[in-house]
Assembly symmetry: C2
Homo-oligomer: 412 residues x 2
């Protein structure tokens, strides 16, 4: 992952990269503007700004768009704005029952969107990877002629971001799968491919384009087969030293709790994951549903929703208990992170009408800070494949952090 441009000056080339990023972000956030205005706002000298803008234009990231008419004195200034139409960022999501792809340009305009059903836990790993590669090829084919600046793949599990490999994904039954290398090699293009935890990318999507966009301390929790978490701290994704942060599913909640897929007991996932959900809310058919690998979590949760809408008292009591345990775990997250908002994705979102009120009440009782430190608890508005969207955003951010990674346009 390209580190964000920092204030701290270092050597000259890195200073130029940082300044290039400053100018690009200025164009992104404030729209068309003159070079002189950029110089004024950034404190960079005019010659430097002109040179930086020239480089951005040469890389297809900026373009001239006519003149500013309001000026009373001197020559009219040419305005420059964010371009990036020639740039593609591709987000991929590999989940237990589907693979999704979303390609956007630098400004986030969608260029391609598609998903395919898979049985990622049941099918041989090679076949799953083949489907992923095929969908990626399809996406790249659809945007042919543009510059692909990055591909980011979300996977539900521990991801070694540096090695671009899935260290451990219990619900896919994957250990040490080098997804990044496999995809890079198969695609055969010189584009940064990154692999990330799916909930991390979901959190990024919530932070950038969700209902609570811009809340600088945001926790995203998703219920799929297991429980994923992505945490935004002061506007940046929390990664930790090796990218293994946000493993909320394995917070220890109970001394002698139910067994967890990770081999331990009393993990939060063993209390609020798909399995305990189905056992609590549909005790008569939970085992049959869990044994059926032909349907994914979304279809199984739909059965719960059906029963809840029909007013099944067992289902409703189960949802209330589920909401309680959700709230208990959220209280620990509030104690540690003091977030502005917790956004619930995946099946928590589908079940929001029944579990959020209980979870919210429990959270407020259990968190040490009065009023849960001002935390709002809300279902996601982005839907089940927020991670692919987050992947595209992540791949594009690479450019805003370091525009010098985008190759120069070649006259065609």
């Amino acid at each position: 992952v390209v580190p964000a441009a920092r204030l701290k000056p270092a050597d000259q080339p890195s200073v130029r990269r940082n300044n290039l990023a400053v100018v690009l972000r200025e164009l992104h956030e404030h729209g068309p503007t003159s070079r002189a205005a950029i110089a004024t706002v950034t404190g960079l000298n005019k010659a430097t700004v002109s040179s930086l803008v020239g480089e951005l234009i040469d890389r297809g990231l900026a373009r001239d768009v006519g003149t500013e008419n309001q000026r009373r004195l001197g020559r009219p200034a040419t305005l420059v704005e964010l371009d990036g139409r020639s740039v593609v960022a591709l987000g991929l999501e590999l989940n237990v029952d589907f693979i999704a792809a979303l390609a956007t340009d630098l400004a986030g305009r969608p260029l391609f969107q598609r998903s395919r059903a898979v049985d990622a836990a049941g099918a041989p790993r090679q076949r799953v990877l083949k489907t992923l590669i095929s969908l990626a090829r399809q996406a790249l084919g659809a945007v042919d002629g543009r510059t692909v600046v990055g591909i980011s793949i979300g996977v539900p599990g521990l991801v070694d971001v540096d090695a671009r490999s899935v260290t451990f994904a219990p619900n896919l039954r994957w250990h040490d799968v080098d997804v990044g290398d496999v995809l890079s090699t198969a695609l055969g293009i010189d584009v940064p491919v990154s692999v990330d935890n799916d909930a991390n990318l979901g959190a990024l999507a919530e932070y950038r384009v969700g209902q609570y966009l811009g809340r600088r301390n945001l926790v995203y929790i998703t219920g799929q087969t297991g429980i994923g978490g992505g945490i935004i701290v002061e506007g940046r994704l929390l990664r930790g030293s090796m990218g293994f942060s946000g493993e909320v599913g394995h917070m220890r909640m109970s001394e002698d709790g139910p067994p967890c897929g990770c081999g331990r007991r009393g993990c939060w996932e063993a209390l609020v994951g798909l399995k305990p959900l189905l056992r609590r809310t549909l005790p008569h058919c939970a085992e049959a549903l869990l044994a059926d690998h032909s349907t994914g979590p979304e279809a199984k949760v739909a059965v719960v929703v059906e029963h809840a809408i029909a007013g099944d008292p067992v289902t409703l009591a189960g949802l209330s208990e589920h909401g309680h345990w959700l709230g208990v775990g959220l209280a620990t997250l509030v104690n540690l992170f003091n977030p502005d908002v917790i956004v619930l994705g995946g099946f928590f979102r589908e079940l929001a009408p029944w579990i959020v009120p209980v979870a919210d009440e429990t959270l407020r009782l259990e968190a040490i800070a009065p009023g849960a430190g001002g935390c709002v608890l809300a279902p996601s508005t982005l839907g089940f494949s927020a991670s692919a969207l987050g992947g595209a955003i992540h791949a594009a951010e690479r450019v805003f952090d370091d525009p010098s990674g985008v190759p120069y346009l070649v006259a065609s």
Copy 2:
């Protein structure tokens, strides 16, 4: 708290403030340098740099220090370096059994250091605050004639950083005490006074000057009467939306655990705080020790250490159990933050030889990431009053973030 200077440009005055901070940090981190070199490194134009350096000199933050002789061409350049000898940052720590003060100049050189015993939980709050004010006055008297740039006070509890008040400090039995306003008013000087969680300031001290300084993801856990936590994420203190982050003591660890001082059950503090420590390791005298308010945690823990050194089997078994529960909670922190290092302060540090090996083994078994995600577990080398040191560092950082907050020197 003054927010850090950000890359994102905004209005002109804030750009100048940011650039002033860039130049000051350049001087701080890279030593004596010429104005021309600063212009080259930062990309700012020379006239801007000269004006910024002039402002820093006028504020007593920089000074000219002779000429650079290596230059072959042109006039020799005057070198400029960090000054800040006229600047004082004051850190205060209010704890259950002592109040400490540490004043430094901008470069971190100690100017005054003192601590006083108090019974903060037993004595009337007004008397405790009076002692705090008196110690602060003594510190300020000792550095008279210098510019005090900030005072930061560490308190063991939930702190509303914006309101500068202690929202809830269970072990001091304080609710809604506006420590910042009280101190500001009593001192009657126009200096920013901030109040912070003591473990937050301890974490900052570990990050800046501890054995693991510079590890960008660092968790600091301190055992006093309760358990405090301060968390550094990517080189910055995690604060959350209201400053209530890092409340590690109230992570829920057990469904029917022992009662906690916060009124709940099964909190981590109820498993690894001072009370369970004494009950486990000194079952015959724990209640007597706990009832004795004339000695603080440090003296009580010294009794445990004595018994451990003497090889008391009950004490050793108790320490092993304590280490186990320490490790279980640390695993949740590793799952969430994936830190480079966890530094143990307070009584955990005193007990390190007996509890760290067990805690480390448990942590490695319980954390979901292989090898605990590379996390090192180590006792602090800074000692019991790391928070006062962190307070001084915090107060000084305000200047590095925004030098324009330092008043101009007046010719005397």
